[in-house]
């Protein structure tokens, strides 16, 4: 008894010790957020130790932390959510090639720029003389990372030059799709473009910059005092060449930087984005929220249409395939059954996101499906597996006695299925099917990874430009509800109708 009590008090001591260390550490740590998926030279998992990160943003975080007499502590946050994570206090500063946009300057406390980049156009080598700038790409597809300045420039290009902007969730697939011929140009910053040009033969980067902007650190507006001290730290590092050393080490130092640093050290104002040969600013920044909403509403409605059409078509195919799979599993011979069971288990056992990737990118060497078709195929094939399980369960729920009664009347097996078993099974399946359709409506947002801009993606783009999720998020939720609520009502009406006799 005594021994146990002693052990318990020892444990308490140990715990309180741990807790005190932890609070102490939090005070002296600088929590910074980045996305290693962005890769070198920004932030990438250290090839020697996957638990650590390296990159110029990592070194800048270290430089800032050291000057603040704190220890840098890295937090992984997906690139598209860094602003939100900073806003809610997950981390104090975001450093991950964050672009210097007017919206970000307005909504957050951004540091002074620490690196100047150029938005450059990458094309296939064969097209070097044909596609020199965005103006040459009328009617062609040009890709970029969604929610970036480059995407905003491409949207302007849609209106001005009649090109077609394609939004990606990462910065690798735009270039691979360029080589595959799914795109005719990629607009991204020179750091990303250089990296791809080096390891993807066949890509040329046009020398003329389309626009210029910078990378900044992002803090919450309430942290403006901390931001001010970080600005001074950065200015000092510009003056004494420490930033230059870092960027040279990562091979991205160029003549744009000394010019930028000179302006900043002289405390001159630097515009967030400058578009070559144009005085036009990134549009949304100069608009009120109301104007922005009105401007984005048509594209949200259009995106909702994409969601609806995609979901309806995918569901129709999934229902058809599901019926076939279920019939095969209930009526088929050994081998057919085994193959179909394998299919269903494979599809249910792997993430739909992965399946979409395999269909669009993985199969690209064999069959180059357009994004919408790949999205449709991916969703339909995935949901077919789930639908088939519903139908199989429903078919097996029909009492054997009724099937035997139908057989003794002389109906063939096919007629038994079509006239007795199928219709009753379908009624049983209706409620779970409606449920699945509503789920599909929302799962369809996953296809944005295949560059299909549907409702959720469009909302994200809208929110990035506006620097807030409140209005876009509310509109988006309302549109999903408008689409899904009538379905429930329709299903209830059908169920009621079928409860009545069919004479």
């Amino acid at each position: 008894m005594i021994a146990r009590r002693r052990r318990l008090s020892l444990l308490c001591l140990g715990l309180s010790g741990l807790l005190s260390v932890r609070t102490h550490a939090q005070q002296s740590e600088l929590q910074w957020a980045g996305d290693p998926e962005g890769g070198a030279p920004f932030v990438e998992a250290d090839p020697n130790d996957p638990n650590k990160v390296t990159g110029f943003d990592v070194e800048i975080a270290e430089l800032i932390a050291r000057a603040l007499k704190r220890t840098p502590h890295f937090l992984f946050v997906p690139y598209g959510s860094i602003d939100q994570a900073i806003e809610r206090g997950t981390a104090e500063i975001g450093l991950s090639g964050m672009e210097d946009t007017p919206a970000r300057r307005a909504a957050m406390a951004t540091t002074i720029p620490y690196y100047a980049f150029r938005e450059v156009l990458a094309v296939r080598e064969a097209d070097v003389s044909r596609f020199r700038g965005l103006a040459d790409l009328r009617g062609h597809r040009v890709g970029t990372l969604g929610g970036t300045i480059a995407y905003e420039i491409l949207l302007q290009g849609e209106r001005r030059y009649g090109l077609q902007a394609v939004s990606y969730d990462d910065d690798v697939h735009p270039y691979s799709d360029l080589l595959l011929g799914r795109l005719d140009g990629v607009l991204l910053d020179n750091v990303l473009a250089e990296r791809r040009r080096k390891n993807m033969p066949g890509i040329t980067v046009q020398p003329q910059a389309v626009a210029m902007s910078h990378y900044v650190g992002v803090l919450a507006a309430r942290n403006a005092p901390l931001r001010d001290s970080i600005d001074e730290i950065l200015r000092a590092a510009m003056g004494d060449g420490r930033l230059e050393t870092i960027f040279k080490k990562w091979g991205v130092w160029n003549d744009d930087q000394p010019a930028l640093y000179a302006s900043l050290v002289a405390r001159e104002a630097v515009p967030a984005v400058s578009i070559s040969g144009s005085n036009e600013q990134i549009v949304v920044a100069t608009m009120s929220r109301r104007e922005a909403t009105l401007r984005y509403l048509p594209s949200l409605v259009k995106a909702a249409g994409v969601t609806l059409i995609l979901s309806c078509l995918a569901m129709a195919i999934a229902v058809g395939l599901g019926v076939l799979i279920a019939s095969g599993r209930v009526y088929g011979r050994g081998l057919v059954r085994l193959a179909l069971t394998g299919y269903v288990e494979l599809i249910r056992g792997t993430p739909v996101l992965l399946q979409l990737f395999v269909i669009y990118y993985g199969l690209a060497a064999v069959v180059k499906l357009p994004a919408f078709l790949a999205a449709l195929a991916g969703l339909a094939l995935n949901y077919a597996a789930y639908e088939s399980e519903i139908y199989r369960g429903a078919l097996e729920a029909i009492p054997v006695g009724q099937l035997e009664a139908a057989r003794t009347l002389g109906l063939t097996e096919r007629q038994v299925l079509r006239l007795v078993r199928g219709p009753q099974a379908f009624r049983l399946a209706l409620a779970p099917m409606t449920n699945d359709f509503v789920a599909l409506l929302k799962d369809s947002s996953l296809v944005s990874v295949l560059t299909v801009v549907e409702l959720t993606k469009q909302t994200q783009i809208f929110a990035t430009n506006l620097g807030s999720w409140v209005i876009p998020g509310t509109l988006c939720a309302a549109m999903y509800l408008v689409m899904s609520l009538p379905l429930g009502a329709l299903a209830r009406r059908l169920e009621e109708r079928w409860r009545a006799p069919t004479t």
Binding site: Q402, E404, A406, L409, Q415, L419
Partner: protein, 228 residues
Amino acid sequence: MEGANDMSAILDVRDVHLRRGDRTILAGATFTIARGGVAALMGPSGSGKTTILRVIAGLERFDRGTIDIEGVRLQGGMRPGAVLLKSLRRQVGFVFQFHHLFEHLSALRNITLAPTHVLGVPMAAAEGRAKELLASLGVEHRASALPRELSGGEAQRVAIARALAVDPPMLMMDEPTASLDPSRRNELGELLARLAGQNRTILLSTHDDDFARRWATTILRMDGGVVV
């Protein structure tokens, strides 16, 4: 006006064996049923009454023996082909103990389903005939009811009408008296006698001695998988 072979049996069951695992269900059942009349198959539970009816209806395979019914021969140990089953089912109708009406169809549609889809009778003609059948069984007022809205006796009559709609010469019924009270049993007996009078052969299984003695023209007793 039957031909010269009228005295031949409508059903000839010879030495039918059936084992399931190590249980013997039928151990050489042998009997014949003469044309016309009501034959009652009696015997304790588990004696094989229901199984022999299911075997004759082609719902169950058997290991050994033969069954002849109006020129259709079922052979033990073989899987009957689609053509054979089709001709078998023109000869034998089956009314299940629990009726097994099609739950999604009205009483009328339960009856018209097979004539329209198996015999190709036009819907209007099938409906007319179905209504006649329902009327002759005293349930014409239930034509548009769904099976779950019918009482046990009504459901049985609809099931009989459904089986008669394809006009089989022989009608088998599994335990038709089980769910009926005594007065209903007599109504059923009268109905069966009337059907037998219309040149149809009835073969039923029952536990009810009184019913069998009163209404059956032939009584067969089963025990241990054989007819004794």
